[in-house]
């Protein structure tokens, strides 16, 4: 972290163009040489309500949303002004101010749209401004936007004013708007941008201490979400079939894939439900295409049944699970890590699957590629588990990460010659033969001569015929289960582990976490070590097979470890203990499940509270003591 950073929050109502405006502004900041990280907060409704997007930008690497923020652009919720008299909308107009002030840092900046908002309606506004030394700019953004175009363009007026205050030249924003906007709205937007910029420059004191530094990227960056990482990883592995049903936040991956697949000669299917979606992916994969499906908690619950079918028929299948707060429908637009056990154990019988939980956009790409590779090489279902935060948050990633050869290989498929020469069982192709090395028996594809067999969801013999023979059962089970050991060996042998260790190897204390908490934890480790503690962190991505060896040696000499996760029941800690069978006396938990992702300060406070009681844990987090073994 650095003092020289901008954490800019644009707040308004859903449907007011908050998302698209912030996307463009984030790109502009990135183009001006900064590292960027975005965070979306939105309600489960289409129009109106309190929504914001935060963009953190710095000349140093930014890994999380950061602690609080220092620049508020409060636009007002245009949908709170409802023309229908009897419609219930509540007191929402001033939410962009009332809901956001608590987290605004001392000395921060507020721009508010006086065309829509009246600070007289905000309790103690002037007093709070004075106490916190905030710099307030009351600008009639709406009036300006209306003058040159339409009211919705007040977003642009807000950007112009922001640039004037933080000292960002307009050219990079203008260039971006020219790239992003259709011609007919471009000109009025450019006029609004310049007018607003000039107005603030001329009529206000902009020397308020919140600026962005000048910087340059060492490598060409791209601004990507975790969902993009997953979608691009899938496509680069030759995935050309996707089936799905819309559900937040999984829809992001589904729509990105759908947007591109037809152009790449692929097929996307929006179907009647999630059971069908996963079953379609199985059908396409069985016929010889690389296929995927996915959902979020509730929809993934429906996929439990086809997931087991893929396991026993040994059909390669990749599923994505984008977690949101549960149980049931829970909080559709809020992140949580409460589906870990759901994903690890769902479906009938003994579980045999691979689960990866990438920690950032770059890992989303890399691990999705690996998930496909393993699914097809080992004929096993693999799941990419991530959450709403990583799904929609954008961050800068070097373009070179994506510069990898495509891999359309679909694993062990026999040729018709091999079928002819191969051993048969009662004249039938031995699809599920026992002697497959690493547990994998080569498959034939429907349409291949002489290769017909039965892929059965019932236990079956080597040719696929249903069998309840005891010896066959044990042999087939053992063969299928042995794949996980082979996969573990393969993951262990990789040049670069999926687990990231951060901080000094010999540190006395450890933090363990998985998935999207990665960046916040790493920043917390920096703060803690600067404060004189001795802390290291490990972000675990391999959920199954679990990297026992790596975790054991990471925890070997530490006094205590804090397991940081976004759920109420310490699922990840339970998983670590279950897999390693150890560490029960040193694993403490820091839990957060209020619908907001961890900020670094939550982790710092939690750690210091647990370690020596020198801090209080943040009010919306909970510490849970070690349970013993």
């Amino acid at each position: 972290m650095t003092d020289d950073e901008l954490i800019w929050r644009i707040a308004g109502g859903s449907g007011d163009g908050i998302d698209s405006t912030s996307q463009n502004f984030a790109k502009a900041l990135m183009r001006s040489g900064l590292d960027v990280f975005t965070h979306r907060h939105y309600p489960s409704r289409i129009r109106g309500g309190h929504t914001y997007v935060e963009i953190r930008a710095s000349d140093e690497e930014v890994k999380s949303r950061g602690d609080n923020y220092n620049f508020l652009l409060a636009l007002g919720d245009s949908f709170a002004r409802n023309p229908q008299e009897e419609a219930y909308y509540g007191d929402e107009e001033i939410k962009p101010l009332t809901e956001n002030l608590d987290e605004l840092r001392e000395g921060g900046v507020i721009i508010y749209d006086s065309g829509l908002l009246d600070t007289d309606d905000v309790p103690n506004f002037d007093q709070r401004v004075e106490e916190n030394d905030w710099h307030v700019f009351d600008l009639d953004l709406r009036g300006l936007a209306k003058e040159y175009g339409r009211e919705i363009m007040r977003n642009t007026a807000g950007i112009g004013a922001t640039c004037a205050i933080i000292g960002l030249e307009l050219d990079v924003v203008e260039e971006l708007m020219t790239d992003a906007m259709p011609e007919k709205i471009l000109e009025p937007n450019l006029e609004i941008l310049r007018e607003s910029y000039e107005d603030v420059k001329e009529n206000y004191d902009t020397d308020v201490g919140v600026t962005v530094p000048e910087s340059e990227h060492e490598e060409e960056p791209v601004l990507i979400s975790g969902s993009h990482g997953i979608a691009y990883g899938a496509m680069d592995e030759g995935c050309r079939f996707i089936a799905g049903y819309p559900m937040t936040p999984w829809t992001d991956v589904f729509t990105i894939m759908t947007q591109h697949l037809p152009d790449l000669g692929g097929i996307s299917e929006q179907v009647e439900d999630e059971i069908a979606a996963a079953a379609l992916a199985i059908g396409a994969s069985h016929a010889g295409a690389k296929a995927m499906s996915g959902s979020s908690g509730g929809g993934f619950a429906l996929m439990s049944e086809p997931l087991g079918l893929a396991e026993i028929t040994e059909t390669p299948l990749v599923l994505v699970e984008s977690m949101r707060a549960g149980p049931s429908t829970g909080m559709p637009t809020k992140p949580e890590q409460g589906d870990l056990e759901h994903v690890l154990y769902t479906s009938q019988g003994d579980s045999n699957r691979v689960v990866f939980a990438p920690g950032d956009a770059r890992e989303s790409y890399i691990q999705t590629r690996k998930a496909f590779e393993l699914a097809y090489n080992y004929q096993i279902p693999t799941i990419v588990l991530y959450d709403q935060k990583l799904s929609g948050g954008h961050q800068t990633v070097p373009e070179s990460v994506f510069d990898e050869e495509p891999n359309p290989d679909i694993g062990k498929v026999v040729t018709e010659e091999e079928i002819e020469e191969g051993e048969r069982l009662a004249g039938r192709f031995k699809r599920y033969r026992y002697d497959g090395e690493d547990g994998v028996s080569p498959r034939s594809l429907p349409g291949q001569k002489g290769g017909n067999y039965l892929a059965s969801g019932n236990e079956h013999n080597e040719a696929g015929h249903i069998s309840e023979d005891a010896d066959n059962r044990v042999t087939q089970m053992d063969r299928r289960m042995s794949k996980l050991d082979a996969i573990r060996d393969e993951l262990d042998a990789m040049d670069e582990s999926h687990q990231t260790v951060y901080g000094d190897e010999d540190a006395d204390y450890a933090i363990l976490n998985f998935g999207s908490t990665k960046g916040a934890v790493e920043e917390a480790v920096d703060v803690l070590n600067d404060d004189g503690h001795s802390v290291k962190a490990m972000n675990v991505s391999d959920m199954l097979p679990f990297p026992k060896g790596e975790v054991n040696s990471f925890l070997e000499d530490v006094d205590e470890a804090l397991v940081v996760e976004m759920n109420a029941t310490a699922q990840f800690r339970r998983h670590i203990q279950g897999e390693t069978g150890r560490h029960g006396d040193i694993l403490y938990s820091l839990l957060k499940y209020d619908g907001n992702p961890f900020e670094p300060a939550d982790i710092v406070d939690g750690f210091e509270s647990q370690l020596d009681g020198s801090a209080e844990p943040a009010h919306n987090t909970r510490i849970e003591s070690a349970r013993g073994d």
Binding site: P221, I267, A289, A291, Q448, G457, N458
Partner: protein, 311 residues
């Protein structure tokens, strides 16, 4: 050269090719109507000119689900009610395959009812055979979606208060472009209808009346049936939606009074299949997707080329 040579093969096909060389002992009860479906299907295959290797038979669970065990072809014995989504994706991935899905009345009209409606609506080019014996067989005789109102079973001891599903009408209103009913007691008609269904370019639904001698002796599937195409009493145009709907309604109502009407009820040869529709919107490749993974000359595009929009 294709990896799927069986598909290009043209030769005379023998009925016996569809009998597994080691036929597993059938677990269907003596006198079960399911034997009739198996026999009719085997006999229909040579008529359509399809070999076991270019045919994919996807089944659900239950007695009907075992069809794929006794029929020699590529088979996928899936899960209860889910044969259709598995089958239609296989067909999308490789449209050159002959894809048949099969299930029972519980499987197809109960748990899989939603998939039935949507597969018919999309008009996937495939054949769907529903073994309709008005009972859950393998779970030992519970009331099914086609059991008559008042049907008594362990799960409906006071008699079912539910009216049965109307499979033909449901298929028609959902959008199936070929709808027929046949019966295990008439193998010749069954064979003809199955062959026609497979040759039909679109979703062909065959409600196949089968008798369950163990759990449903009361069902009317044993009685002589009337072929609506052969009888002057049932003169209607199978290409006319309205007339077809009326004929279906009559067939569905009279079934429970002991009058079994079978034959073709609706045929729409003009409606493009889902594959054709999707191709016309540019959402489906011309050559089978499954072929591409074996085409050494194919150039796989990378996401790298899409990154400009993120700069």
């Amino acid at each position: 050269m294709s990896v799927f040579n069986a598909i290009d093969e043209e030769r005379d096909i023998d009925v016996n090719e569809f009998t597994p060389s080691l036929e597993p002992q059938a677990t269907w009860c003596p006198g079960c109507g399911d034997f009739g479906v198996l026999k009719a299907l085997k006999q229909a295959m040579p008529e359509v000119g399809r070999t076991p290797d270019e045919t994919l038979l996807v089944t659900g669970i239950g007695c009907s689900g075992k069809l794929s065990s006794y029929f020699q072809s590529y088979g996928f014995h899936s899960i209860h009610g889910r044969s259709l989504p598995v089958a239609r994706a296989a067909k999308l991935a490789n449209p050159d395959l002959e894809v048949i899905a099969a299930g029972g009345d519980g499987d197809g009209y109960g748990i899989g009812g939603n998939h039935f409606m949507h597969t018919a609506r999309e008009n996937h080019d495939m054949t769907y055979i529903v073994f309709d014996n008005e009972i859950f067989g393998l779970t030992k005789g519970q009331t099914s979606p086609t059991s008559p109102k008042g049907h008594k079973s362990k799960t409906q001891p006071h008699g079912s208060a539910k009216s049965p599903i109307r499979p033909l009408s449901l298929a028609l209103t959902s959008g199936a472009s070929y709808v027929a009913r046949t019966a295990a007691v008439n193998p010749n008609q069954a064979k003809e209808i199955l062959a026609e269904a497979m040759e039909h370019d679109g979703f062909a639904h065959v409600d196949f009346l089968t008798q369950c001698p163990t759990w449903n002796k009361d069902a009317k599937q044993y009685v002589p049936y009337i072929d609506v195409q052969d009888s002057d009493d049932y003169d209607f145009d199978v290409h006319d939606r309205r007339e077809a709907a009326e004929a279906m309604q009559e067939a569905e109502e009279s079934l429970y009074d002991g009058q079994v009407l079978t034959g073709r009820f609706y045929i729409d040869e003009d409606r493009p299949s889902y594959q054709q529709e999707k191709q016309s919107t540019g959402d489906m490749p011309e050559t089978p997707l499954a072929e591409r993974y074996f085409d050494d000359d194919y150039e796989w595009e990378r996401s790298y080329d899409l990154l400009d929009r993120h700069k």
